[in-house]
Amino acid sequence: MRAIIPLLQMTMLLVVLAVTPAAGGTSTPSPAPQKVVPKGKMVLAWHVNIASRWLDPQEHDGTASPDNFTTALHDALIKNNRETLYDHPALAERYEFAKDAKSATFWLRPGITFHNGEPVTPADVKFTFENYRGAKADVLKGKTERVEIVDDRTIRFVFKEPFLDFPLIFGTANVSGAGWVVPAKYYQQVGPDGYKQKPIGAGPYKLVRQEPGTKLEMEAFEGYYRPVHVKQFVMVGVPEAATRVAMLERGEADIIYLVPGELIERVQKNRKLMLAPVLSGSWWLDFPGFQDPKSPFRDKRVREAVSLVIDREAMNEAEAGGMGRISGNWINNDVQYALEWPAFKRNVERAKQLMQEAGYPNGFTVDWVTPVPAYYSRGERIIAQLQEIGIRARLQVMERGVFLQRLQGGLKEWPGVQIILNGSRIGGSWANWYEAFFKCGGFSSRDRICVQEVDAKFARYEASIDPEERERLAKEIQREILENYYFVPVFRHAFVNAIGPKIAAQTWQEIFPTITTGYAFPWEDIKLKE
């Protein structure tokens, strides 16, 4: 069954991609809402503390965490929803993306309001976009010439040049918050800091009370254009995993996020509870400065040998209870133009042979293997597996902030022979992954990896406005990275959540149906048992 789910998801994704207009398309309006009286109370145990900045889409940091909150309190013109990657009609009942990719026009739903009863207007949309200062703000604003209010329900974005990725960036919740509409008048009145304390949005839930860092109490917004089923919704920050599981067992929480490996079995054994292993980020090995003539990783055979010796099945079993996925690509398959690639096989004999051919029959020493903090056990497993072909390495641990700082510092921060066990989950497009982790000068790759011919192809991809050419180039680039073992994919881990008995669901996919976020969503669709 576990193997079938990703296949089903992929099939749905391909269907969606096939029917989603990349340019010159229009979306269809959503059906009219049924009358539902919201009732009951639902509690979510969030796995860390709740940062107030996550409640303000204007400062979206481009990561997945704010998704969980913005999707409850706010709504976007278009958004990712279930299997739709980015253009599910939300506050906009439809939109039109010009064939030349130089403008996008949105028509707001009639009668939609914010939680304070004020109507959602094109002026709010314009303010939201122009005042937005979070992730991708520079890209969105740099390519936009002007935002025009056409009439009291219509707004148009006019671009300086063809901007094919606009709907993708604008509509993917974990990429940018520019399309998540805030009430202009209220926002200006209370200011950004005041807004974070009492955010007003147009989402399915309105905030009733906030205890900064620890708790949010929300209530169903009856003016929402879709039916909202649960009356009271409480999100509580519970950093300790064992406490979260105990809360679920006791019925104090109905949904909990992040069940660590050692507690998975406990949840599995309890027949009242349901595990929800949502496929999440991909993990891969990165060889900083592999182009240096002195680096053993300069030789493709050595990189291939590393790939052959990695025991991906064992990694998945130990680190994700077998609920992750052994994928062939380092880019998640739930983003636009991601390449499906067969999983790499383990073959230690062949790996040894390649090491011998490359002139390293007795292996060599790697100064450090550094996993993304705090996934140190994954790094230890890699080190143990590398020893089978004589590669000796030590584990380097560091605080997460220091790790990010060193990634941004470029090659000088990774002297000698090093391996980074990197991992990420980025939404939207494959290009976001490439730009972040592979492109020379990218915000995370910096100068660690500079393969000019691949970057040249990427420049062509960016300049192109022909979707077919873009897709071809995207896949060509990904193939080149994989065939040359510039990166060695390891596995795609599972973000393991759990659902309590009060929630009305036969399968966990009903609560976590989307391939675009690891969190429960859409909140308004979740029901309690009678």
Binding site: A51, S52, D61, G213, E240, A242, T243, A246, E399
Partner: protein, 306 residues
């Protein structure tokens, strides 16, 4: 006496100054908070903008002066993460921490003091051995482990108490026991040794020789005098519990000051960490100052010692 108080106040100010300087330096050694505040794709100029916005681009001495200015005005700076004055966050969490610390102190006194007195009165009997074992367990069992065991037993198996969060007395029980357990053990040891010392003193021997009943000797003469250092320790423990119950508050999702500090550390929220630590410093130094003054008032030898 006046001179003594002035001298002690000056010592306290020096202590606060050293504490503020230490915490100011130490938090900055953890790295650049701009990296955690800016979006992951932030360019160097974006990071610079964030640093400017929060005054992190200024030299450290200037930042320190701003920090001290904020301490003096009582605002304690503005949290990077919550965008609220630290004093506001602190005061929001303080009632929860006080509630927890008072309950834990009560438990520690109710368990530690009688057990300690009993151990001393029945020294080298099985009462004493039981007391020693309790003290040993209390000091050696980590709070986080005890907390998780309590949750498992009383919440999951017996279903008597809620697992976490705040609410009525039932929410308070387990975190207070988990927090107070260690302090009960330390009070037990101190009560025992203090009582033993008192029981060996001449005036107790005299009282016994005079034929004063044993319960009066212990209750009226011994217990009262043995209690002085015990209550002093209990007072200091209370202040520590208010400010440093980090692990217990995290395990029981208790929204107190300890958890606020934990959040600040993980987010490199400099003003928050600095503010919480300095407030804890003020409390501890304040209590010690008060105790010193009270001791000096009671015992003139203390204030006359140079």
């Amino acid at each position: 006496m006046h001179q003594f108080i002035v001298r002690r106040c000056l010592y306290s100010l020096v202590t606060i100054f050293i504490l503020s300087l230490t915490i100011f330096t130490v938090v900055r050694l953890t790295g650049d908070p701009a990296l955690l505040m800016a979006e992951p794709g932030a360019r160097p100029e974006d990071l610079e903008r964030v640093r400017m916005q929060w005054g992190l681009d200024r030299p450290w001495p200037m930042q320190y002066l701003s920090f001290m200015q904020n301490v003096i005005t009582g605002e304690l700076g503005k949290s990077f993460n919550y965008r609220l004055p630290v004093s506001e966050l602190y005061l929001q969490r303080l009632p929860n921490s006080l509630q927890l610390a008072l309950a834990a102190t009560l438990i520690s006194i109710l368990v530690g003091v009688p057990a300690g007195i009993l151990s001393a009165v029945r020294v080298n009997t099985w009462w004493d051995y039981v007391g020693t074992v309790i003290a040993l367990l209390g000091l050696s069992i980590p709070g986080f482990w005890l907390g998780l065991v309590l949750i498992l037993v009383f919440s999951v198996w017996l279903e008597w108490l809620p697992t976490s969060g705040t609410g009525d007395w039932r929410h308070l029980m387990m975190p207070a026991v988990a927090l107070g357990w260690y302090f009960a053990a330390s009070l037990l040891r101190l009560s025992r040794s203090s009582m033993l010392e008192v029981l060996r003193s001449d005036y107790i021997k005299l009282a016994r020789l005079k034929g004063v009943p044993e319960f009066v000797v212990i209750g009226m003469h011994g217990f009262k005098n043995a209690l002085i250092p015990v209550l002093t320790l209990a007072g200091v423990n209370l202040v520590v519990m208010v400010n440093a119950a980090v692990i217990i508050e995290v395990i029981f999702a208790w929204p107190g000051i300890g958890r606020l500090l934990y959040e600040g550390i993980f987010q490199r929220d400099f003003p928050l960490v600095q503010g919480v630590v300095v407030m804890a410093g003020f409390m501890i130094v304040g209590v010690n100052l008060l105790v010193d003054i009270l001791y000096a008032y009671i015992d003139p030898r203390i204030r006359l010692t140079k």
